[in-house]
């Protein structure tokens, strides 16, 4: 018996819009994944601590506030610092095209922006999980 993919969905910083992340949570649940949702207004430290305690395969950060270039580097650095770089980080929400490469260079594995259909989100997480393999 193998385990379903475990995903932590996080809303970080001053971003009160969580309809999107709840739809994503439901989509992943319906695809058989275990989804842990942090709730709104979390800090990068809180999110990384939760990701470690929950030992998630995927950390999904939902950002609609435009703060991605401030928040994502902090999260990536904390994961590195706490020896949790094997966590797959995915960013979803509203990110301008010109920031996409910069985020990928930081180690964000995939960006799932506002026009991503639900099945694409599921496929992406499954692919990234397969690529990483067992741990």
């Amino acid at each position: 018996m193998s385990s379903p993919i475990r995903v932590l969905l996080a809303k970080v910083g001053l971003d009160g819009h969580d309809r999107g992340v709840k739809v994503v949570a439901r989509t992943l649940r319906d695809a058989g994944m275990d989804v842990i949702y942090t709730g709104l207004h979390r800090t990068p430290d809180e999110v990384v601590n939760a990701a470690i305690q929950e030992d998630v395969d995927v950390l999904g950060i939902s950002l609609l506030s435009g703060a991605h270039m401030t928040i994502c580097p902090k999260i990536m650095a904390l994961l590195e610092e706490k020896d949790a770089s094997d966590t797959i980080v995915v960013v979803g929400g509203v990110v301008p095209d010109e920031d996409v490469n910069a985020l990928k260079e930081m180690g964000v594995k995939e960006l799932l922006l506002q026009d991503t259909p639900p099945n694409k989100i599921v496929e992406t997480l499954q692919r990234l999980g397969d690529e990483r393999g067992p741990r």
Binding site: M1, R26, D34, V35, I36, Y37, G39, I52, Q53
Partner: protein, 323 residues
Amino acid sequence: MPIPSGELVARLKKGDLRAASRLMSRAEAHDEATLASMGEIYKSAGRAHIVGLTGVPGSGKSTLVSKLVETIRNDGRRVGVIAIDPSSPFSGGSILGDRIRMTNLVMDEGVYIRSMATRGSTGGLARSALTAVDILDVAGFDIVIIETVGVGQDEVEIAQASHSTIVVSAPGLGDDVQAIKAGILEIADIHVVSKCDRPDSNRTITDLKTMLAMGINIAIKDQEGRPLWQVPVVGTSSEKGEGIDTLIQTIDRHRDVHRSTQLGVERMRRIAEYRTFKTAEDLLRSRFFDSTNNRLNATVDQIAKRELDPFTASTELLSKVAF
């Protein structure tokens, strides 16, 4: 390359929480290759006091856990929490939302919270919840709280999994308190009435106290014929922070009785028995699926058409399971 489980166990014994996290995932995966390591963890555990907290959905379990942990932390004890939510019966997936009520705890190094999904387990617990408790025990947590899924009337497994079982009732359920008398209300070592800032909470407290007073006294007694433990009813308000200290004192008092009397001896044996049955059941289940994988679908189709009956088919399938 995955780190060998044996190495993770060695790290766990030194209190490494990253190792604890990974071992819990392996316990959840039910890989038979990790069973020896889980066994080693079981043998090293046994120090922590295990508190089970159960109640109907929306009775305020997660919020109460959050307050409890916050207050226990004031005296320096380290607390682990296993928070269980249901898996979807259709997709097998889950949304685990208990952490949302516990956000004030996440930056405290002395607190560890782990969410688990039931994955088809029906007694209110997750299959590997007790292994996760062992892992936190070995990691050095003094108290481990298991929060069950929101339960109905009959999910009483928590009583065979914890040293002190708390049943949380919310006021306003009125006659429902009467209705759920048998089953869940019987397993409490401590009753909590939550949301006591509400005016109708006194009625719920009275209902519970009356129920306890009427109950046939099947408690374990001391030599003078007095019950070793009389089930108390504690009113709490997580909103106002009231009753939390009393609840912790009550839990500690129950722990002392549990540890020093026949009560604990019998409880520990029941827990051991439950774990043996559950572990055997899990092993049987996974081996059943492994060895019948190819034929199961065809057999089920035949049974659905009533060409075959479930009794003959099950006997036949079980005879093929590899032991």
